[in-house]
Amino acid sequence: MASFDSLKIGDQPAPLVCGPLTRTDFVRYAGASHDFNPNHHDEVYAKAGGNKAVFGMGMLAGGYCARQLTDWLGVSALKRLRIRFASRFWPGDVLTCTAKVTGKRADGGQRLIDCEFSAVDQNGEVIIRGDATAAL
């Protein structure tokens, strides 16, 4: 895990690649989170609404990005996390999560790391982006 002293602005963890994602991945997250919006598991319903297939939950992509941050900075390090939902993702997509240090500062005796992160699909389209602060 990264330490405050070792991290520099611009540092990035190894990318986290998730997928190719399956309908089963969406259904597993539906069960774990109780997100039973039928657009995420019922192909008939999703297509009737004009979608090409079921699509993944934004918070599933958010969970992948949070997982990359906890692998990188530690499970107890996060002080703040903000996720902005930009686009949708589909069965077969491969999401790549990346993150980057954007700031280092001290605040009230805490040593804080600011970072930005995103998940993009195999075509480079941004699915979610966000920012976080961790105390190290």
Binding site: C18, D25, R28, Y29, G31, A32, S33, H34, D35, F36, G49, G50, N51, K52, G58, M59, L60, G62, G63, Y64, A66, R67, L69, T70, D71, G74, V75, S76, L78, K79, R80, L81, R82, I83, R84, F85
Partner: protein, 151 residues
């Protein structure tokens, strides 16, 4: 959305953070970290119990429909989840009994060139543990668009 909903608070609700649910959630985000499964690994990492992953509390498991209903949305197919924010104030571990309370922070309107008139509602949930410590604050931004959301 109902512009008058801003400032409303809702009845608190209580739930226990369960170890099995933490594991199930970690599985669902593909996270193999042993701290979410093994009490010894959690203890070694400095936690008093198996910790909750960062996005666990913003699931539909832990909410009542009251605050969403109070937004006065006519058709949820016009709603997108625009943004989700968490503040982490203290650890949440398996066995904790949390009391959550929702508040509608704001309901505002914005003109978007791409999507027409947008109405933006922000719901905040504060989670307090069995010792009275506020452990997390979650803020969810819901956006009502002028048209149905599709490709």
């Amino acid at each position: 959305m109902d512009q008058n909903a801003a400032g409303k608070t809702f009845a608190p609700y209580e739930f226990r953070v369960e170890r099995g649910k933490i594991r199930e959630f970690a599985d669902a985000i593909g996270d193999p970290n042993p701290v979410y499964r093994d009490p010894e690994a959690a203890k070694k990492a400095g936690f008093p119990g198996i910790p909750a992953p960062p996005t666990l509390l913003r699931t539909f498991l832990y909410e009542t429909p009251d605050s969403k209903n109070a937004l006065g949305v006519k058709d949820w197919s016009y709603i997108v989840h625009g943004e989700q924010e968490f503040e982490y104030l203290a650890p949440v571990v398996a066995g904790d009994v949390l009391t959550a309370q929702d508040r509608i922070v704001s309901v505002t309107e914005k003109e978007s060139r791409r999507a027409g008139k947008l109405q933006i509602g922000v719901i905040e949930t504060r989670f307090v543990n069995q010792r009275g410590e506020t452990v997390q604050i979650a803020r969810r931004t819901l956006v009502e668009t002028g048209q149905r959301i599709s490709e």
